[in-house]
């Protein structure tokens, strides 16, 4: 009888430790990421625009920190932050995050930066920049967008057509 009870106990303890181990793994998987230098998402999002730009310009900063900085600059960024964001338009990992911020900033410097980026990026990143120009309804970009209407890259040509329609719906 003692042997049976012992085996049952071992079975229960074994299963319990497996459940606890699984629970621990799940808890670890749910722990939010924290940047070693800049801290949690909430801490980064609390920084002033100039400090957010420092993150963007820090070559050692993680993608996590830079992406959080961009999200925050969408709400608090201004003309002064545009150059740091514009550089990221060419970065395959951060181009969208840069557009996320730039699209929201109500300053002409953004339109100029997006137009300039048209000659620097290609493929999906170019389609993204064109989409942002369309969202901002930048009339001055129309002559530049026309050049992409016949791009061999379907994503680029479709984005150009859509952006031109959005900027001048009556004409396109």
């Amino acid at each position: 009888m003692y042997r049976t009870v012992g085996l049952a106990l071992m079975f229960v303890v074994g299963n319990l430790s497996m459940v606890l181990a699984n629970q621990q793994r799940e808890n670890e998987a749910l722990q939010p990421m924290v940047d070693g230098k800049y801290g949690s998402a909430a801490e980064i999002m609390a920084l002033a625009p100039a400090q957010l730009v420092e993150i963007l310009e820090d070559s050692d900063a993680t993608l996590f920190a830079k992406s959080r900085a961009c999200l925050r600059l969408a709400v608090v960024g201004g003309k002064d932050e545009v150059p740091a964001l514009a550089i990221l338009l060419e970065d395959s990992q951060l181009s969208h995050y840069a557009r996320f911020a730039l699209e929201a900033i109500p300053d002409q410097a953004v339109d100029e930066a997006l137009r300039e980026a048209l000659g620097k990026v290609e493929g999906k990143l170019l389609a993204g920049v064109i989409n942002s120009i369309g969202r901002r309804k930048d009339v001055d970009a129309l002559p530049l967008l026309g050049k992409f209407l016949h791009s061999e890259d379907a994503e680029v040509s479709q984005s150009a057509a859509e952006a031109m329609r959005r900027i001048r719906p009556a004409f396109y």
């Binding site: 749910l30 990421m33 996590f64 990992q93 969208h96 996320f100 730039l102 699209e103 990143l125």
Partner: protein
């Protein structure tokens, strides 16, 4: 699914756009995560299809408007998955508000996600990176769709994507897309949204509320607690002559003077809301009439929830112009009305 539907030729697609490019489909049900809802609804409409889309129907004010504009322009049928509009108890309550039995309507109450389970707003956190599975298990890039890129973590695809800014609208949108929608419907305000939003209870998950006012003076209170415990998704309408409150359980509570006009709806009848809602959609696909949760109603209810969310996130009162979808005198709030989509996605 094929077996369930009684035939064995149910095709599966890894690419949603391959399905949408078929020329032989009249209507689609969109039941992806919230992040894909607007984009796929618009693409389906452009492909000539009618759409039944789960709620929340949009991630931003701009998406809500683009959705409504597209369906209006193309003349397709759109039914949001806000099935309570076809739930008997909610309909009874709405009728009491509409037919004057409550007197002059004064305050509408919409239950938003209880903060202990559905925090009002989302976080900007990332979960730790895990190795991406093969594409035939989960195409992570496609799963993210128009959202900002973040590293893969299996918790997201197990349903724990809610609560993150990129994917979700917090407790305000999660339940408000149902209950604010019901309030606007009952008050005959499907074509507008409140003009003032005052958030209360910031800094903790519960209790919280957003006190809103329509241009006609009617009050709307989005709050997460202190209802009569009638189930989930409470609504309460208060007028000069009485009040009514109900929720998913089917029970209807009223002021004393209305007790004889509001019989409880048996739970099984209340539960028929979803089947009724699907029937409503299918009937409208055939008749081309407007379903109850049509594109404009869904758009405006979502605009109200997004505006409330923005007020709560900023932690200050906002004034909103529903005719122009613009916050008055608040540039930060206006910036939060839209989000750039990840390339190559666009609407």
């Amino acid at each position: 699914m094929g077996r369930e539907a009684g035939h064995g030729d149910c095709a599966m697609y890894a690419d949603q756009f391959e399905l949408l490019s078929r020329g032989d489909i009249d209507a689609v049900l969109i039941a992806t995560g919230d992040r894909w809802h607007t984009l796929l609804s618009i693409q389906a409409a452009k492909a000539g299809m009618d759409v039944f889309c789960e709620k929340p129907c949009s991630m931003t004010i701009a998406e809500s408007r683009a959705l409504a504009d597209t369906f209006q322009r193309l003349g397709r049928i759109y039914q949001a998955g806000t099935q309570r509009r076809n739930g008997s108890n909610f309909e009874l309550a709405a009728n009491l508000a509409r037919n004057g039995r409550l007197g002059q309507l004064q305050t509408l109450h919409a239950q938003v996600g209880p903060g202990d389970r559905w925090p009002p707003i989302t976080t900007f956190d990332w979960l730790p990176a895990e190795p991406e599975p093969p594409n035939d298990v989960c195409d992570w890039d496609r799963w993210l769709g128009p959202c900002p890129w973040r590293p893969f973590n299996s918790q997201y695809i197990r349903g724990r994507w809610r609560g993150y800014f990129d994917f979700h609208g917090g407790g305000i949108l999660e339940w408000g897309s149902h209950t604010v929608d019901l309030c606007q419907w009952a008050a005959g305000l499907d074509e507008t949204a409140p003009v003032e939003y005052e958030p209360r209870g910031m800094g903790s998950d519960t209790p919280y509320s957003i006190h809103c006012r329509y241009a006609n003076g009617l009050q709307l209170v989005m709050r997460d607690s202190d209802f009569l415990d009638l189930g989930s998704c409470h609504i309460r309408f208060e007028g000069s002559e009485g009040w009514v409150e109900t929720a998913d359980g089917g029970r209807i509570e009223t002021s004393e003077n209305l007790r004889n006009e509001s019989p409880d709806v048996p739970r099984e009848v209340a539960r028929a809301a979803t089947a009724n809602h699907v029937r409503d959609f299918l009937d409208c696909v055939k008749s081309r009439k407007t379903p109850r949760s049509n594109y404009l109603a869904a758009c405006q209810a979502h605009v109200a929830c997004h505006a409330a969310y923005i007020a709560f996130q900023l932690g200050r009162s906002l004034t909103f112009d529903p005719a122009r979808d613009t916050f008055e005198g608040d540039e930060m709030a206006n910036r939060m009305r839209s989000r750039a989509m990840r390339e190559p996605w666009k609407i």
